[in-house]
Symmetry: C2
Subunit: 418 residues, 2 copies
Amino acid sequence: MSFIIRADAKSWIDVPADHHFPIQNLPFGVGCPTTHPECVCIRIGDQVLHLWTLLDAGLIPEEEFPMLCSFQDMDRGHMSDIRKIAYDLLRADNPLLRDNEALRDQAVTSIDNAEIQIPVLIGAYVDFYSGINHASNVGKMFRPDMPPLLPNYKELPVGYNGRASSVMVSGEPVRRPKGQTKDASAERPSFGPTKELDFELEMGFFTGRGNVLGEPVSIDDFTDYLLGFVLVNDWSARDMQRWEYQPLGPFLAKSFGTSISPWVVTLDALEPFRVAGPKQDPQPLEYLRAKENWHFNIELEVSIHTEKMSKPQVVAHTNAQELYWSFAQQFAHQGVNGTNIEPGDLYASGTISGTEPGSFGSLLELTWRGRDALVMEETGEKRTFLEDGDTVIMTGWCQGEGYRVGFGTVEGKVLAAV
Amino acid sequence: MSFIIRADAKSWIDVPADHHFPIQNLPFGVGCPTTHPECVCIRIGDQVLHLWTLLDAGLIPEEEFPMLCSFQDMDRGHMSDIRKIAYDLLRADNPLLRDNEALRDQAVTSIDNAEIQIPVLIGAYVDFYSGINHASNVGKMFRPDMPPLLPNYKELPVGYNGRASSVMVSGEPVRRPKGQTKDASAERPSFGPTKELDFELEMGFFTGRGNVLGEPVSIDDFTDYLLGFVLVNDWSARDMQRWEYQPLGPFLAKSFGTSISPWVVTLDALEPFRVAGPKQDPQPLEYLRAKENWHFNIELEVSIHTEKMSKPQVVAHTNAQELYWSFAQQFAHQGVNGTNIEPGDLYASGTISGTEPGSFGSLLELTWRGRDALVMEETGEKRTFLEDGDTVIMTGWCQGEGYRVGFGTVEGKVLAAV
């Protein structure tokens, strides 16, 4: 029961055609500036619609939506209903909120005055490895004498549990971590700030409900569990990762920070952009077969902005269609052993890379392990990995006919090590 | 500022000399039977001391300890103070509670009437790999042509993030998980219940406070962060693990369930049993060097009780001193990259094995990958891995002079797959 807002719908709030947050999007976030700082709001254009104010004014029925301060306890049905109410109030031809100046000034305020928080209290963070070109590039670099993909890659969505406590909302800086690294020529490891700080361009989804431990979920249930999507920057320290990751996987090389975009984009908003994923050969086992398309045509871009530059430079452009495993397949795999999925779980896709150098989702790949430095055109600065003061900006959007449904940005500046 | 209860201390509650919970222990748990089911209590002998009742009666100063329903928000200082109050009330020569029959009947009730909950709301679960004999045995089995330990093993406490949502308290059954496995001779994996369900004997500690993201902790701070210790059974599906774990580590082979013992044993209670760990060669990097001893002389035992047996059979006996990396080193490594430790984090040690066959902490090792079945003496049943209906019972204790400080048990019965 999707609620899809027509391409020609207009709001009384003016939104340019290339803006990420037209009335067709209406994503959810958290951050009202005044009385209810931790409550849920909806983004439209450069404005924030405060749901709590609508509730106070009787425009959202309280008995149906008592949980506007605990976003992750809403299921997709609630979100769809609230989004429909917001749409009705924001339609160009509805005077109810539009012409009530007093209420409007309270309910709709500038994004510049909003203090945006992390949208969901994240209980668990799982990171997949579903970007096949990334996995293949890493294989070529680190296991040059073997096939680039391991035998399990096309049978299951490889993934691991990450550190939930250090997931941050866009805008928060990331502190360069210290840790153990070992040069190939050194006899022993040394301790100090990572010299290979990297980003990873990913998409993520939140779950909004849970299952009972021991009762596996099915891929057909994904829509019921899904809260929505964000952009994810999975900051990585490559030198620490190389040294620590055998045999139990990434640990401190990732746990120092992960950044997400603040607006949770709904499946309803993304409906027009659903596409078939790549042909999967071999055909996955039955529990990984979805009836619907669970890939999305989302353009993705990464930019770097050093302290000397006046504006960011795009260093990578790709598309979420490059994922081998879909979000639904990730969900189905995660839950098939009976583990209990919970409201507020974040599932990230793994690094999304295209097949060409300018489309890779990490510096590891873009510079081919530091061999080919990126040059910042404005300043002539070179980058193999990130330096202190660099800001990484990721963005993503779906291009509709005359409008975009976007994710805004996930941004983070690198601070020097303590 | 430890509060160590003398070996000759006696309570007016009679506790046998080989009991795990004499007045020298006084561990914390959650589960009052009546009015405050989620509140903190203390175990003594076969009785439960209800702290909430003591608070109501004015025997615990409310202004100092307002948080008896949120155990993990107490720091070690609070716990030490409350434990001291409990000790005073339970001393054989203190009539205050002993002779107040009405209050005593409310404040002290039988363990048989308590509904024991998970002691801490677990935000994150990290599992280390600090049992060197286990790591070495696994290396011998899975990489027979290489040195059994990887080069990083003696430089850092290898670990990974586990799934916190599926951590259960002792007594809850574990459902045999389904998942992908692949026989060496098969062309493709198949899906079904694991055929290699195993246990792992581990110790774990909880943290009771957090640090700010980006500000690393120091090994010298461990005492301030430490809430206490429990036994951990890290259930594992070996066939799923073999197929999935490259290159990002264990995932579904572990996330279906982890069991912990319900009583959080304090550092104060364990003080008399602190011992030096094994000599570490090479000497660890500086951030991993502790001033104090952070190993403990804890006897550990695993038993199996099949449905046909009238009583359990001990299948492994070892000691927590077999850990290569100490709890403090695990803590220091976890936090050195600036990730934010949080109240309620659970850090498990990894499987603890001795050097001899009867001292191994997993069936994988005890049966040497299924080669040498264990025989249940009472029934003649054989076990390579766990079968449906089997109950695994782990226990651990420190032997003092005339008393024990113990952990009770962590038990779990295997249910058939869905």
